[in-house]
């Protein structure tokens, strides 16, 4: 795409996207990127298939169909020691950090075997041992990711803290506190903005003077680059450069990937009756489906055959079916001890390090004390 500025105002002029290039990416990596994107697409489609009318999940789900490119690329770039913080459209990020599918499914079904025992659900799921966290109060997670970057820097770690969010999060003041602090401290923070234009039904161009977030974070000292967010390979290259910048201690980076969600904001329905996007706009993005664009390139270059694709589809279908069976057959959680669920009363470190003073040996009598002003 070169270095021209992207904008949702004009992006439709691209028509059918023709600029995908393999470049010098290894063929194994390219196929793995495709498989990751396809797996995410099929997983979301399968979840949608079970969502209604069965209604067994009873869990708000923000599906990410149409936005597979960024999570697929991240999955090939994140190290196990890196931290990843996701927005509410979390499934792609969950997979990108290598978290197990069956625990996600069970979580969405509210089962005891879920990643969080059914307490969190799709929009709040976390997987602590994989250093994956998410949350629905968007800019809050970006701020926490900055805190993790701060601690990684203090510990002289080469790990990166990665925060995925939508352009809606940049409406919040909290986001700009992050931009300022990450810049001044040169934090190892990678900000990944999936700019899908709409905060629920609200157009970014009604909320912000420009849809170019890169231009606004650069003065803070944040390296920033835009990318056509449905070109998995270009997204990969752009993120790879950003990771390199951050991991080598050169400071924070932001990647702004222009993309589009196909379903309604939440749930699998079409929310077009709110008239916030045109049929032409949705058609443009579906024409440039991230999975299909890459698939066409793979067929064209001979990296993928119809038989190999069929094998891949069968493997994914088998995996997804097994995880549904696990989730559906898992038990619901029992009623917890509400206090213990919310409060960790164990104090192993304090037990080890702190003594107990005999309070009666000390004078606690404060009757002579006068409250002083100020």
């Amino acid at each position: 795409m070169g270095h021209m500025d992207l904008s949702h105002r004009t992006i439709g002029n691209i028509g059918k996207y023709q600029a995908m290039e393999l470049g010098n990416l290894e063929s194994g990596l390219v196929v793995a990127l495709y498989r990751q994107a396809l797996r995410l697409r099929r997983t979301e489609e399968a979840l949608i298939g079970e969502y209604h009318p069965a209604d067994e999940m009873r869990c708000p789900v923000h599906f990410c169909i149409g936005q597979e490119a960024v999570p697929a690329a991240l999955s090939m770039l994140l190290e196990s020691d890196d931290y990843l913080f996701s927005h509410h459209r979390s499934h792609g990020y969950y997979f990108a950090k290598g978290c197990p599918m069956q625990e996600l499914f069970a979580e969405i079904y509210g089962k005891a075997t879920g990643a969080n025992g059914g307490k969190a659900g799709s929009q709040d799921v976390s997987h602590v041992s994989n250093r994956f966290f998410s949350g629905a109060i968007l800019a809050g997670a970006v701020s926490i990711a900055a805190g993790t970057a701060f601690a990684l820097q203090l510990k002289r770690s080469t790990s990166v803290s990665v925060s995925g969010f939508g352009e809606g999060a940049t409406d919040e003041g909290a986001f700009w506190e992050v931009a300022n602090y990450a810049g001044v401290k040169r934090l190892p923070l990678l900000l990944v903005c999936e700019n899908n234009r709409y905060a629920t039904y609200s157009d970014q161009l009604k909320r912000q003077a420009s849809d170019n977030i890169c231009a606004r974070v650069r003065p803070f000292g944040v390296r920033a680059e835009q990318v056509f967010g449905n070109d998995v390979l270009e997204v990969y290259r752009t993120l790879q450069a950003a990771f390199e910048h951050v991991r080598t201690g050169q400071g924070p980076a932001l990647v702004e990937a222009y993309t589009h969600r196909w379903n309604s904001h939440v749930g699998p329905e079409d929310d077009g009756n709110n008239h916030y996007r045109t049929r032409e706009e949705l058609d443009f993005w579906k024409t440039n489906c991230p999975v299909v664009l890459l698939e066409e390139k793979l067929f064209e270059t001979g990296l993928l055959t119809a038989a190999a694709k069929a094998r891949m589809e069968a493997e994914i279908a088998e995996e997804v079916a097994a995880h549904f069976a696990f989730a559906k057959s898992s038990p619901f959680p029992a009623r917890p001890d509400w206090h213990i669920a919310n409060n960790g009363d164990a104090t192993p470190l304090a037990d080890r390090l702190l003594g107990t003073a005999v309070e009666s040996e000390f004078n606690h009598f404060q009757a002579d004390a006068r409250l002083e002003p100020y």
């Binding site: 931290y83 969080n116 025992g117 307490k119 976390s126 602590v128 250093r131 966290f133 949350g135 109060i137 809050g140 997670a141 701020s143 926490i144 990711a145 900055a146 805190g147 993790t148 970057a149 701060f150 601690a151 203090l154 510990k155 803290s161 003041g173 909290a174 506190e177 300022n180 602090y181 001044v184 509400w338 213990i340 669920a341 919310n342 409060n343 960790g344 009363d345 104090t347 192993p348 470190l349 304090a350 390090l353 702190l354 003594g355 107990t356 003073a357 309070e359 000390f362 004078n363 606690h364 009598f365 404060q366 009757a367 002579d368 004390a369 006068r370 409250l371 002083e372 002003p373 100020y374």
Partner: protein, 325 residues
């Protein structure tokens, strides 16, 4: 054995000892790395522990709290400091939507050893934006511990317990207590959450005092003893959790309860304590419970109005007399 420290110095010592005991303890706060050191409570720490572990922070309280949360995920034990609790309100999202529910949402897999120190002003014209305590707000939240220490001894022990414990803690400090001195052991020690202190035994009436009201309650009790009224004073020390048993045992003996709370009257901490005692000791009370609180009003600046706003010793004494007569 006996050694006196001011409340501010006790807080300083608690942080110093926590930092000596664990390399994971860090202190963040606006001007925390200056010689003035937030009313002396962080003075000198940067000289000992360096600029990594004691850091100034931008005037961005929400991010400061989020930074503590994100740091805890990497194994640190951050202490963050607000010179006035009122500024901490910028960080309600980080506290309410993230910190408080982190353990719950992770299904117990991730704890948050984060300590938030918040200083509450009182007097000399602090006015409506430098004096709010809001301890009841935070005690209402599941997943957060709230300490309201009154003595230097409690300030040190509870702060060490907060920093080296595993739960997030909000540590509310009365600025007017800072120069009070009292016995403080030198070796690091713990004061547990949920354990009230019996400041004065008494058989006629139980006064449950919170934070800055505790010294006043002890003083009132001392005066009333001259009138033959024997007042038991319980300093709650922590609001979440609070020591229900000590309060219930005390009131079961005296059959009279007054709660002295330096917060607003309606829906406050005093209401929770009165409600619990009423539920559990109904029929055994000699007289209905009473509350001495701030009025349902914001804090005035004028010294004349401050005199009207904050409960004075004579208010407290009269309220106690009313219960026993």
């Amino acid at each position: 054995m006996s050694r006196e420290l001011s409340y501010a110095k006790a807080i300083n010592e608690a942080q110093r000892q926590a930092m000596e005991l664990s390399d994971d303890v860090i202190v963040l706060g606006q001007l925390a790395d200056t010689p003035a050191g937030i009313f002396g409570t962080t003075s000198g720490l940067v000289d000992t522990f360096g600029v990594d572990r004691v850091q100034d922070f931008p005037v961005a309280e929400n991010l400061m709290t989020a930074t503590a949360i994100g740091s805890a995920l990497v194994g640190l034990r951050p202490v963050i400091v607000h010179q006035r609790l009122d500024f901490m309100i910028y960080s309600l999202d980080a506290i309410v939507n993230w910190l408080a529910l982190w353990r719950f949402k992770s299904n117990g897999k991730s704890n948050m050893p984060v300590t938030i120190r918040a200083i509450v002003g009182r007097g000399w014209g602090q006015g409506p934006q430098h004096s709010k305590s809001l301890h009841a707000w935070f005690a209402h939240l599941p997943g957060i511990r709230v300490a309201v220490p009154t003595t230097p001894y409690d300030a040190k022990g509870l702060l060490l317990e907060s920093i080296l414990g595993e739960c997030p803690s909000i540590f509310i400090e009365g600025r007017s207590l800072f120069s009070m001195s009292g016995d403080v052991p030198e070796a690091p020690y713990r004061v547990r959450f949920g354990q009230a202190a019996l400041r004065r035994p008494g058989k006629d009436v139980t006064v449950v005092a919170i934070g800055m009201m505790a010294p006043q309650a002890v003083r009132a009790a001392t005066e009333l003893a001259k009138e033959g009224i024997d007042v038991q004073v319980i300093d709650l020390r922590t609001l979440s959790p609070w020591d229900e048993q000590t309060v219930l045992d005390g009131v079961a003996d005296t059959r009279r309860l007054l709660v002295a709370d330096p917060g607003w009257h309606s829906f406050g901490a005093a209401a929770e304590i009165v409600a619990t005692v009423s539920e559990r000791l109904h029929g055994r009370l000699a007289v209905g419970p009473a509350r001495v609180t701030l009025p349902d009003s914001h804090t005035p600046m004028s010294s004349a109005l401050e005199q009207e706003y904050y409960p004075r010793d004579e208010h407290l004494m009269q309220s106690i007399r009313d219960l026993v007569q």
